[in-house]
């Protein structure tokens, strides 16, 4: 019957009836028909004075339908039925309802249909830290059911905007010190997700860079002071200290700053470039690669895309796998789990990318121990 209701509703839409009017009309039609049946039943037995059970049932049924159906219809077509996910992006949204393809894949694999069973509201920071705050506030205003992001700065912006709407994100490293989680096993707040080990791998990256450049005595570091709340710089300095390598930090806020930093490096006779995690820097892989090759500098970065764009080395967890994993968290929360009860997972898969083309240009002969460890070669 309700399938026909929908068809009728469409028909009535053409007759310029609104939904509630239509529901009322339908309900009364049904009620009329049912009581009509009752009346016919009664009319066929005119001699019987006492109404039979059935004759009493029909008007009763009609009354019940009048009461129940409008409520049911409203409940059925309520917009709260389809959950809305706010996607907090750093880069511009491709469409107002776009999301990271890896997250979508994760959701699809769990039986969801983004755009159908889940609505996506994409809000972008347009590559500015302030933009993150604005976009997060916008999503909170939209009363989305969940905020999803793929970076800790975005998660922090969202956490700053709401303490109630669940936040699912990739964390750079330590969400506990950021105040977003009480512990990895039980975050306890409204934020959860997976850890990228952005800072935990700093020492390992330096170690690998040293393997590539055995006589390395100093490294030039690109760091964005906008994310100085992360311990990236300190961790780098400490690890470099342990390895006996000098550190020169270049603060870069904008792509232009990168150009300037490389100019300084040239003047200083730099030996290698070490790129620290940052969203702005994430988008400047090609620029950094080009500048590094120009100055014959080996580079160590924190994401495989850097190597694809021409940087020599990249060592990190599998970013695509982590995004895919977010789908699981979204699914769990949609099914009623509290984000505070979902432990923050640590990565298990790591990948070393080596751009052999760049190595050739730089005239580097990479040791076998390093080549053996690599998962990706760009030739």
């Amino acid at each position: 019957m309700f399938r026909y209701r929908n068809a009728l509703r469409q028909l009535a839409g053409k007759l310029f009836l609104n939904k509630s009017e239509l529901d009322t009309a339908l309900t009364y039609t049904i009620a009329t028909i049912t009581s009509g049946i009752g009346a016919i039943a009664r009319w066929q037995k005119p001699k019987q004075r006492k109404p039979t059970k059935f004759q009493l049932i029909y008007p009763g049924l009609a009354c019940a339908l009048v009461t129940v159906i409008p409520n049911f219809a409203v409940a059925q077509s309520s917009p709260t039925d389809v959950p809305v996910i706010g996607y907090l992006a750093w880069w511009p949204c491709k469409t107002p309802s776009s999301m990271s393809s890896d997250i979508s894949r994760g959701l699809t694999d769990l039986g969801h249909k983004p755009g159908e069973t889940i609505m996506i509201e994409c809000r972008s920071a347009n590559q500015s830290p302030e933009g993150l705050t604005t976009a997060a506030a916008e999503l909170v205003e939209l009363r989305v059911d969940m905020i999803v992001s793929t970076s800790e700065p975005a998660a922090r912006a969202a956490y700053g905007a709401t303490k109630t709407i669940p936040i699912v994100s990739i964390f750079s490293g330590d969400p506990i010190s950021a105040g977003m989680a009480r512990s990895l096993a039980q975050p306890g707040g409204n934020a959860t997700g997976v850890s990228y080990y952005a800072t935990e791998l700093t020492g390992k990256r330096l170690d690998l860079l040293r393997k590539a450049v055995p006589k390395l005595s100093a490294v030039d570091v690109l760091s964005n002071p906008d994310v100085s709340y992360f311990p990236f710089e300190e961790d780098t300095k400490r690890a470099a200290g342990l390895l006996g390598i000098a550190v020169r930090v270049h603060h870069v806020r904008t792509p232009t700053d990168i150009d300037n930093a490389f100019a300084t490096m040239k003047a200083e006779n730099a030996q290698a470039v070490f790129v620290l995690p940052d969203l702005m820097l994430a988008g400047e892989g090609s620029r950094i690669a080009a500048l590094a090759i120009e100055q014959q500098l080996p580079s160590m970065t924190w994401g495989s895309w850097y190597a694809n764009q021409g940087c020599l080395l990249a060592y990190s967890t599998r970013y695509d796998e982590l995004q895919y994993r977010l789908g699981y968290y979204i699914d769990r929360i949609l099914k009623g789990a509290k984000p505070g009860d979902l432990p923050i997972e640590q990565p298990t898969q790591y990948s070393l990318s080596i751009n052999l083309k760049t190595a050739k240009i730089l005239g580097l002969k990479l040791p076998q121990t390093l080549l053996l460890q690599a998962d990706n070669f760009i030739e």
Partner: protein
């Protein structure tokens, strides 16, 4: 059968017609009880067997799944161990022992064993010689002395070490696996790997039991190592408080009944231990799902049962109707027959005992009708014959009555003297009373001597012997009866004279051939004797004075020894050209009355 009984039957017959009656109900209930109890017992047995079968198959299935899961998990860990052992078998080890070149092996190991996050090589003294981590940089200064590490201490000879499960950062489950590094026959070092057990998650997630079934692994102290919901593992759960985990850790069998899982759901549990690791693999399946085939079977059986019951109701009704309808017919028929409709025939064609019964009834009715008809006949015959004779006639067929025939008979004719005068003057009631008394006496004697009554009119009566039932001594009987009549009527005459009535009684007896036959219609007939013998008897009666019995010579010839004859004379009688020799009977000779008695 009394009137009221009759009414009752008719009433009950009507009730049977309308409501079906008790018999329908009883037949219905018996049939229903038989069929449905059969169904119920069958269904019950089916359910019981299905239940046992189902529970047994659940147990077997889950145990198999548990063993399979345990095997795969053990295999997974063993695979890591084997990979580690394989990496100790290198040319470098054989040629130079733990040299720098061995570092390659560690890099290779990390590539092929993704679960291993850190790998270290210890020499025979427990000093770390090489170490590689996916996460951390390792400088020569970072190499430690691990001589007291259990992983180092417990690896001896060929035995590998599987350490207890521990949590990194309070959430990620890890364990250490150590294998010996051997050169020739001696152990020159130990390879220790830190293994992230989260990878077992993949193995556990791939284990599916039905729709809702899942497998999980706990360590020897109940810590959750692997579960499809990895967050339970990351939360660092300990499941020791679950009854099934407790039992499994003790090595005790888990009862077949559903257990409660950590989420409070009822589940069927099976477990399989991995003794090498001191782990236990559990396979749980929601009881709801496991029971589903059982429920389905239950519903099927119940459905069949209800369908069967419905059919039983129908069949019982049919049986009831089939049995009772002919019975109703029978009953109505019998009621009608009872009410006198002897022509009614009960028409039942069921081909069974009921039809036979109806046939018997019909036969009975036929017999009844025949018997009824003969009774009618007898009662008619009684008008002319004594009852014995009448019955004799009826039972021996009625030829004697329907066909005219000649027979030698002895005719007795008698009447009252002066009756005509008396009746013309007396009150009719008085005349009737006299006749009643008179015929009462005569009737008794006629009956006693089995005489055939030809007719009686007013005070006159004609009877004869030897027809239709022949008798050996018709003349003797006639005379004897006449003697008795004279005696008895003389007493009546005495009484009558006391009442002032002057009446007398005379008898004439003759014997000879006469034509006998049936005169009149089927219903109203007259058995008549025609011939001069009847006229002669009549004339003799006319001639007889009161108290006299006149007989012919022919009669006397047959009764000479029995009676005494007083007077012999010749009389000329009207209608007889010659004078007839007539004798008067004086009385019975000595002993004749006895004879007369004896003839009966």
């Amino acid at each position: 059968m009394s009137e009221s009984d009759n009414k009752d039957i008719v009433h009950q017959g009507a009730a049977v017609k309308v409501g079906g009656g008790r018999l329908v109900r009883r037949t219905f209930i018996i049939a229903l009880a038989l069929v449905s109890s059969g169904l119920l017992v069958g269904g019950g047995v089916e359910l019981y067997l299905r239940y046992n079968e189902s529970v047994e198959s659940i147990r077997v299935l889950q145990q198999e799944m548990g063993r399979g899961a345990a095997f795969r998990i053990h295999q997974y860990v063993e695979e890591i161990e084997k990979t580690m052992r394989a990496s100790t078998l290198t040319p470098e080890i054989i040629s130079t022992g733990l040299s720098e070149a061995y570092e390659f092996e560690l890099i290779k190991l990390l590539k092929v064993a993704p679960a291993v996050t850190t790998i270290a090589v210890l020499d025979a003294d427990g000093q770390e010689r090489f170490k590689l981590s996916r996460l951390k940089m390792v400088r020569p200064e970072d190499l430690e002395d691990r001589a007291t590490d259990q992983a180092f201490l417990q690896v001896r000879g060929d035995r590998s070490f599987f350490g207890p499960v521990y949590l990194v950062q309070g959430s990620e489950p890890y364990m250490r696996i150590a294998v010996p590094i051997k050169r020739f026959n001696g152990v020159i070092g130990v390879l220790i790997a830190e293994v992230n057990l989260k990878h077992i998650w993949g193995v556990v997630s791939d284990i599916h039991v039905g729709e809702t079934g899942y497998a999980y692994v706990t360590s020897g102290n109940g810590d959750l190592i692997a579960h499809p919901d990895i967050h339970l593992v990351l939360e660092g759960r300990n499941l020791k408080n679950l009854a099934q985990v407790q039992l499994a850790l003790e090595g005790a069998p888990i009862p077949l009944a559903p257990q409660v899982n950590f989420a409070g759901q009822k589940v069927f549990v099976a477990y399989a231990p991995i003794p090498d690791l001191k782990w236990v693999v559990f396979v749980e399946r929601l009881a709801v799902e496991a029971y589903a085939p059982l429920y389905a079977s239950l519903f099927r059986t119940a459905g069949l049962l209800f369908a069967g019951l419905g059919m039983a109701v129908l069949a019982s009704l049919l049986i009831g109707i089939r049995v009772v309808r002919p019975l109703q017919e029978l009953r109505q028929g019998v009621t009608r027959i009872g009410a006198g409709e002897l022509d009614h025939r009960i028409d039942i064609r069921t081909g069974d005992e009921l039809e036979a019964l109806a046939d018997e009834f019909n036969q009975m009715t036929t017999k009844l009708r025949e018997s009824y008809a003969s009774n009618e006949r007898i009662s008619q015959l009684k008008r002319f014959f004594s009852p014995q004779v009448a019955e004799l006639i009826v039972s021996s067929g009625e030829d004697a009555l329907t066909e005219s025939h000649r027979q030698e008979i002895t005719v007795v004719f008698c009447d009252l003297r002066n009756f005509t005068e008396f009746s013309s003057t007396a009150e009719p009631e008085e005349a009737m009373r006299v006749l009643q008394e008179y015929y009462k006496v005569l009737g008794a004697l006629l009956y006693r001597f089995e005489a055939t009554i030809e007719h009686f009119a007013g005070d006159g009566l004609m009877a004869f012997f030897n027809d239709p039932i022949p008798c050996p001594d018709p003349e003797a009987r006639a005379v004897r009866m006449a003697v008795m009549m004279q005696q008895d009527v003389s007493k009546l005459i005495e009484q009558w004279s006391k009442r002032g009535l002057n009446l007398g009684f005379g008898i004439g007896i003759s014997s000879g051939y006469a034509t006998l036959g049936h005169i009149g219609s089927e219903e109203q007939f007259h058995y008549a004797a025609i011939g001069s013998v009847a006229n002669l008897a009549s004339r003799l009666c006319d001639k007889a004075l009161s108290g006299q019995t006149l007989i012919t010579e022919a009669v006397f010839a047959k009764v000479e020894g029995l009676v005494e004859v007083v007077q012999t004379e010749e009389l000329s009688l009207k209608g007889f050209p010659k004078p007839v020799t007539v004798l008067q009977v004086a009385g019975a000779k000595e002993g004749t009355s006895h004879l007369a008695e004896g003839s009966r």
